[in-house]
Structure formats: structure tokens, C-alpha cells
Amino acid sequence: MSAVISARNLSKRYGKTIAVDNVTFDIPAGRIVGLIGPNGSGKTTTLKAALGLVPFEGELKVLGRDPRTQRDELMQDVCFIADVAVLPRWLKVKDAVDFVAGVHPRFDRKKAEAYIANTKLSPDMRVKEMSKGMIVQLHLALVMAIDAKLLVLDEPTLGLDILYRKQFYQNLLEDYFDEQKTIVITTHQVEEIEHILTDLMFIRDGRIVLSATMDEVGERFTEVMVPADRADAARALKPVDERQVFGKAVMLFDGVPRSQLAEYGETRNPGIADLFVATMKGTYA
């Protein structure tokens, strides 16, 4: 299986600040990858490099093409939602559909119209008259009707209420994703996407600190509720994180067999949010 995105020693600096520091990774086809990192960790820069929006150092291939020199061909197969509210304010719903239908060879007009019909959007409505949630609905309707091989979503649900957010990911999973497509998502609302991800990448200070499939994450990391009297014994196994809940210690272990941990207390799979917090400890210190 060839990689959809393949980075070798990818770096990007802004003046003296290093935004992306010599990273190497592969994203295979048919995956939904969560690229998770704190503010300023380089996740948006990495995605921008992959989309040919910024120059960079090192080697980066997207669908086998170089985004610096072959951007125009690349955009036939790649689509992205960069941020909320990037649709121009003067654009009407019907004009947006006409335009994308006119310029994109892989756009399915019927699909976009069917999706719009399920929302409160009307053909003559302009973006400036819409709420944030409606703008994202329109954007998603346009993007989902494009049969792209790679879809990049950078904070697609920022500023949306929970109803819109749930609906957004549900539509993405049910109506868009299939094994021919690859989706890369960055978001701070990690809890909401963990059930749809197949792969996880943690990025911190411009470096990839964790890259694994969700199955691997489940095997590697275990969370244990340890009663106070057994806490010291459990600590000997070197948990990567520990917090207190109702007088019990919740410890996170990396690479310790679950059978071994079971004797100290109740074990379970950690949430991505907890894993994230444990991994990023001291980021802002």
C-alpha cells in the first residue's frame, strides 16, 4: 500500500523559530488520522506544507507528487477545509455550487444539493447571512461532493456548538469516508473524534512524539485505577502519568502488559484526551 502522505526530514522555520523540526512519517491510504498537538506545535504548518501553501525543507510527497512544484495537479485529488469561515462573505449558496461544479472535475452536484436540502440553507442565501454552523454545513456540502483521495480538515469545527460538531463528524463518516479515501484531521476537541480515528499522531514542538494506529494505542497504553494502599507498588512500574480521582490514583502505563497491571486495580483503555495531557506535560512551562 503506497503512502498518501510521505514526509522525510520535513522542516519549516519562520525566521529563527522552528515550526516543524525534521519530521518523518507516512500516512497510508484509507485511514482517518488525527494530528493532535497543542497550540503552536506545528500541526497546521505540517498540513500547509502538504497542501503546497508554504515552502519547506526536506522531502514531502502527497499522492506521489511534490506539493511545491505540482500543486495544480495535486489539487484535483486533494481537498481541504482550512478553518471555519473562510468562505467569502458575498458568495451565494447556488453560486458556490455552480462554481465548484464548473471548476472541479470530480464534483458531484447532486450529492452537494442533496446535502444542502437537509439543512436550513436556501439557494439565494449569502455566506454573510449565515451562522458559523451554517457556513460549515455549506463548506462540508461542497467538500463532501468532491471525490478527493485526500481530505485535510484543520480545526473544521472550531467555534461550533455540539449539535453541529456531532453532525459534522457523523456526515463525514457515514456519507464520505470509504477505503479509497484518506482523511487527516486536526482539532483540540479530541474526545469528539477519537471514535472515528484509525490512526493517531501527537505532535509537540515541531516533532512527532507518538504515531500509532488506534489498535496499537489500545495495546500499548493502559489506565489503572489504583487504590491508595497499592499506589506505591504500582508506581514502581513507572507510570507515565498519575492523577487523583476520588481518593484513588489513576495511573497511565506505556508498554506494561495489561495482565500484570490488573493486579493493582481496574484496567481500561485511556481516552485520547488523557493520553494527550500526559504526553504534553510541561509544554507551556
Partner: protein, 330 residues
């Protein structure tokens, strides 16, 4: 895939107000002012003239005017009317100059400011095509619409005059539509379009370059860079080292960077160089009309200025394409 057609449509959707409504409304306002001026003039005439309701020109009743005129008089009257129609047509073009100027200034800046550039860049649209669609909108679409509005305004002007003639029992066919040649005026206006496009290229190129390059306040950059350069050149007598005057720099660099969107401004430049225009000494309206004839407009292409400016414009447009590709929207 007719991508370019859709890019042009997009520009039109966004700028319908400037491209379409502004010249149209200006023409309409001019016609309204004309009607008001005629009504005011008529009431003034009635208040002071002993002739009462019958309009006389040089003591001849307007209804009998054409009978008493010699063919030479009719021709002169026609030229006068044509000059009037030409003047009527200047209003939409004046608006066009400002519309094109500010359109170019915002064309590649506004999309970065509101970050909608990220939406356009998420579609298979190249930077060349996008910038070219904006150049084409500025140099062809907007001027063509303004020209149509100008022709409509000049015809409307004649219709208003006809109404006035009818009101005084004159025959508009013999008084106005016979002697005047509105179709020739319209033809001359349309024929000047390629001259406009070529002459405006350096200004359009400069404004698009600033629009693609500046991080904020493109208007100030667009204005201050050439003006400040002009001041420096004047101050340090740079041009004199090249055996030229600082005024050359102001006219041929600063002026061409900023004033190219005014229709017919090439005439101002040609008066300085073209011997035929240097000795221009109008004997009557027909000479002024000849100045704006298609033949005279097109002779702009025989001057090297227009080509040098166009080449500079193309170079700046290429730079604008480069900046649109590489500017990071952080």
C-alpha cells in the same frame, strides 16, 4: 472544464456593484441632472424671455430652425451634438477609473485578509489563472460594461434633447437625429477599448502587485511607493544624471503607475510628443471629435510608450502571480 469562464463569473458576482451598477447609475444620474438643468433653464427662460412659450434660437423659432440653416450650419450643429453626446459618455468612464483602481487594489488582498484565499486554493485553480481572471476583469469586462453604459447614456442624452425639441414643437428627427451621428460616437468609444486596456496595464499590474504583496494597507503602499520615489528623484536630481528632468519621472513612472485607469489619459501623454497633437488648435467641435476618433485612438499604438508600459505591466502581473503562490496566510 471551462475554468477561466467560471473565474470571470466569480469576479463578476463579487464586483457586480462596481462593474455593473456604478457606471449604470452614474449614467442615470447624469441624465436626471440633464433633465433638471433643462427644466431649470426653461423656467428661467420663461421668466425673462419675452418670447413666452415659443423657443427661439438666434431669433428663429425652433420648429423652423432646420429650414433656415445652410448645410454647413447643420453639420456644425451635428458636431456640437456629437460633442455633447461624447461629454455625456465621460461620466461612466470617470467612475470606471475609480472602480478599476480599487478593484485591482483589493483583488489579491481582500481574499488574504478574510482568508477566503484558502477556500479558492482548496480547489484546482492555479495562481496564474486566478490572477489572469482578475487582469481580464479589470481590462476587459469592467471597461466593456462601462462603454455600454456610456453609449446608453449618450443615447439617453439625445433622447432627452428630443423630448425637449418635441415639447417646443420641433422635429427631433431633423433637429437632432439627422445632424448628430451617435453611432459614430458609439463606434469610437468601443474602438478605444483596446487602447484603454493596453494603456492601463502598468497601473493594473502595479496595483495587483501591491495587492498580492502587502501585508496591510495596500492603498498606502500603492500610493506612497511611487510618490515617495518621485520625491526622492526630485530631491536628489537623479534624473538629471541621466540627462532628463525630474518631471519625466513624475509623468512617465509615477503617473503611469497610478493614473492608467482613466479612459483617454493616453491623449495627455501624446500631446507632449505627437506633433499632430502638439499643434492641436481646435477650430470647432469637429476638431475635438476628431481627437476621439477610432483612427486617432488607435494611433496610440504607434508610440513606444504604450508598449514599454504594457511590458512593465506584464512583469508586475507575473510578480503578483509569484506572491499569490508564496505569501503565507499564517
Amino acid at each position: 472544464m471551462n475554468t477561466f469562464k467560471w473565474l470571470l463569473k466569480r469576479e463578476y458576482w463579487e464586483h457586480r456593484g462596481g462593474f455593473f451598477w456604478a457606471p449604470l447609475i452614474t449614467g442615470a444620474v447624469f441624465m436626471l441632472l440633464t433633465i433638471m438643468a433643462i427644466i431649470a433653464g426653461e423656467s428661467l427662460r420663461r421668466a425673462t424671455d419675452e418670447g413666452g412659450t415659443i423657443l427661439k434660437i438666434n431669433g428663429v423659432e425652433i420648429s423652423k430652425l432646420t429650414q433656415t440653416m445652410s448645410p454647413g450650419d447643420v453639420a456644425e450643429m451635428g458636431s456640437g451634438l456629437d460633442l455633447g453626446t461624447l461629454l455625456a459618455s465621460t461620466w461612466p468612464f470617470l467612475v470606471l477609473a475609480f472602480v478599476v483602481f480599487f478593484y485591482c487594489l483589493g483583488a489579491l488582498f481582500d481574499e488574504r485578509k478574510d482568508r477566503s484565499i484558502l477556500f479558492w486554493k482548496s480547489l484546482p485553480l492555479s495562481d496564474q489563472q486566478t490572477v489572469l481572471s482578475k487582469v481580464f476583469s479589470a481590462l476587459v469586462i469592467a471597461p466593456v460594461i462601462a462603454t455600454v453604459a456610456a453609449i446608453a447614456t449618450s443615447l439617453g442624452f439625445l433622447v432627452i434633447l428630443s423630448g425637449y425639441a418635441l415639447f417646443h414643437v420641433g422635429n427631433p428627427l431633423t433637429l437632432i437625429w439627422g445632424p448628430a451621428s451617435p453611432l459614430t460616437v458609439a463606434f469610437n468609444l468601443a474602438a478605444a477599448l483596446p487602447v484603454y486596456a493596453m494603456w492601463a496595464l502598468p497601473t493594473v499590474g502595479w496595483l495587483l502587485l501591491v495587492s498580492a504583496w502587502s501585508k496591510s494597507k495596500p492603498f498606502l503602499w500603492a500610493l506612497l511607493v511611487p510618490l515617495f520615489a518621485g520625491v526622492l528623484v526630485s530631491w536628489f536630481d537623479v534624473m538629471e544624471m541621466l540627462g532628463m528632468k525630474a518631471s519625466w519621472f513624475w509623468t512617465n513612472i509615477v503617473g503611469r503607475m497610478l493614473l492608467g485607469t482613466f479612459n483617454g489619459i493616453d491623449m495627455v501623454y501624446r500631446t507632449a510628443k505627437d506633433p499632430a497633437m502638439q499643434n492641436f488648435n481646435p477650430q470647432g467641435p469637429q476638431d475635438v471629435l476628431a481627437l476621439f476618433s477610432a483612427q486617432n485612438s488607435w494611433s496610440a499604438f504607434t508610440h513606444v510608450d504604450i508598449w514599454v508600459g504594457a511590458a512593465a505591466g506584464v512583469a508586475m502581473i507575473l510578480a503578483a502571480v509569484y506572491f499569490r503562490r508564496t505569501r503565507d496566510e499564517g
